[in-house]
């Protein structure tokens, strides 16, 4: 599976184990996303993956009504969000549990749980976010 090979492999491994792991430079303390081997801020190559609680706020969102190819595993409409993870400033793509179709508000607090999205023959782990 491709997502276990890249720079962000520990992220996917973490989700598979039920944990949110994100990379932070051990030298300067900066959180980095997308994942990278080298810290562009200080030049160090000492990334540590730290576990964070699945707490976030809504940074941006869209609710999709059109059946785009590769979304067949999701029921329409579905709501995608960019979630800003508490305590690190990293933003992650995710899905919002949105049964009542209430428009998300920017800054609204969220709590996450591990879920999965079926894409073709593959099942990709993801964080499903809910409003507090």
């Amino acid at each position: 599976m491709s997502h276990y090979r890249g720079e962000d492999a520990p992220y996917w491994q973490g989700l598979a184990e039920g944990r949110l792991l994100l990379p932070r430079c051990a030298s300067c303390g900066r959180w980095t996303w997308p994942a990278a081997h080298r810290c562009g801020q200080c030049g160090a190559t000492d990334m540590r993956w730290e576990e964070l609680p699945m707490r976030a706020s809504v940074f941006a969102w869209t609710r999709t009504w059109h059946r785009f190819g590769l979304t067949e595993g999701l029921e329409l409409p579905f709501t995608s969000i960019v979630a800003e993870i508490d305590g690190c400033g990293i933003r992650l793509y995710g899905r919002l549990t949105d049964p009542d179709r209430i428009d998300p508000k920017i800054g609204e607090p969220l709590t996450g749980a591990i879920g999965a999205t079926r894409v073709g023959d593959e099942t990709i782990p993801t964080i499903l976010w809910s409003r507090l």
Binding site: H3, W12, A60, W65, L70, L74, S80, R95, T117, T126
Partner: protein
């Protein structure tokens, strides 16, 4: 000191072929050859003397394969702007000019061809650059969704009124309805058609989105001196900038917060104006790539025509139309109402407008800004002029 790009090259000929998506009478390469021959014909230029090509955004027509059909003797330059969206369209002219100014080629065709039966859907090709498991798992698989997410933030966080996109759409259809080559030619556009069109990805409805056509466009760039000896009045390239700044570009939406609800052009616009010594007030007409209307608004803001705060005053129908507006935009109808061949029609209209050949002429227009695909990780813009001011 004058920048080396300033007025030193010029477009001598343009060709455009456009059909309904899936309805091209010819395969993609043949449509492209047709457009190139049309550009050469109006310039009075022998296509055998073309010696360079530049494209952008996943064009499948590798220049060397065009040689036999065009009878080209020698190929000296073939290049493309990196990136999958329409971000590279204006940058392509900078690359073509670089070849000419450095003596590596003499006559360079900038082109883009798109025939669905040959190359598949453009949206899928664009997304192939970006798609990864993070996006797939979130159901974000299309340019429409990627841009919708930022549009929502433009409206909600930055307080730009949602209805100004309607003015941009109406102005596009106003122009398109009078352009015989446009998909909207002869049509009366009622804004209710947009408001009642089906939802795609909030806030976008169908008519907020550009819709693909089959076709091809080609523009012949030569030295300014050479252009003055050819059949059409030269349209000079006055400046061109491509790229972006730190904090923007394929960052899984981790763009710098102040750049997030932009179209990515801030550094490009800054460099373009510095290079040319021109400012937004010197631009007479704009050809604005609008993959989605909200991204068109962001692009106008990035290029300094207005701000988040003043957008509602500037982006008004009356102000955007060729007949009397101070900021005429997309005078052939743009991607929304002229047709969408990955934006190449905008470049063609920039030239026609500056020659006085537009269906919606802007009186006394001297300069035209061409803004590339907004929201792309790499973007570009160029300024053309019918004089070298």
């Amino acid at each position: 000191m004058t920048h080396p790009l300033y007025g030193s090259t010029a477009i001598a000929g343009v060709g455009l072929r456009q059909y309904k998506r899936g309805a091209s009478p010819l395969p993609e390469r043949s449509v492209l050859v047709d457009a190139i021959l049309a550009a050469c014909a109006e310039a009075g230029f022998d296509p055998a003397d073309i010696d360079g090509f530049v494209s952008y955004g996943d064009d499948k027509n590798e220049p060397v394969r065009l040689m036999p059909e065009l009878g080209i003797r020698e190929l000296n330059w073939s290049a493309a702007v990196w990136g999958g969206g329409g971000g590279g369209i204006a940058g392509a002219f900078g690359i073509a000019a670089s070849a000419i100014l450095s003596g590596q080629a003499k006559a360079v065709v900038v082109f883009r061809a798109l025939v669905e039966g040959s190359s598949g859907r453009l949206s899928a090709a664009v997304m192939a650059h970006h798609l990864n498991d993070h996006m797939l798992a979130a159901g974000v698989v299309s340019p429409a969704q990627v841009c919708a997410i930022r549009a929502n933030r433009l409206f909600e966080h930055h307080g730009v009124p949602r209805d100004i996109v309607e003015d941009l759409v109406r102005a596009s259809y106003h122009h398109g309805s009078r352009n015989p080559e446009a998909v909207a030619y002869g049509q009366t556009f009622d804004i209710e058609a947009l408001r009642s069109s089906r939802l795609i990805a909030e806030p976008f409805r169908l008519f907020d989105c550009s819709r693909e056509n089959d076709g091809a466009g080609a523009l012949l760039l030569v030295s300014a001196e050479h252009a003055r000896s050819l059949a059409k009045p030269p349209v000079y390239l006055l400046g061109c900038a491509q790229g972006t700044e730190a904090g923007w570009g394929d960052l899984l939406d981790n763009d710098r917060e102040d750049l997030y609800a932009t179209a990515g052009f801030r550094s490009v616009a800054r460099n373009l104006y510095a290079q040319t010594g021109l400012s937004p007030a010197d631009i007479d007409v704009v050809q604005l790539y609008e993959n989605f209307d909200a991204q068109g608004v962001m692009s106008l803001i990035d290029h300094g025509f207005c701000s988040y705060e003043s957008a509602a005053e500037v982006i008004r129908f009356d102000n955007l139309i060729a007949d009397g507006g101070k900021l005429p935009v997309n005078t052939a109808g743009g991607n929304l109402a002229q047709g969408f061949i990955h934006g190449i029609g905008l470049a063609v209209e920039a030239v026609r407008q500056l020659r006085g050949e537009s269906s919606n002429p802007v009186a006394g227009a001297r300069t035209c800004l061409l803004a590339g695909g907004p929201g792309s990780p790499t973007v570009s813009s160029a300024i053309f002029g019918n004089i070298v001011p």
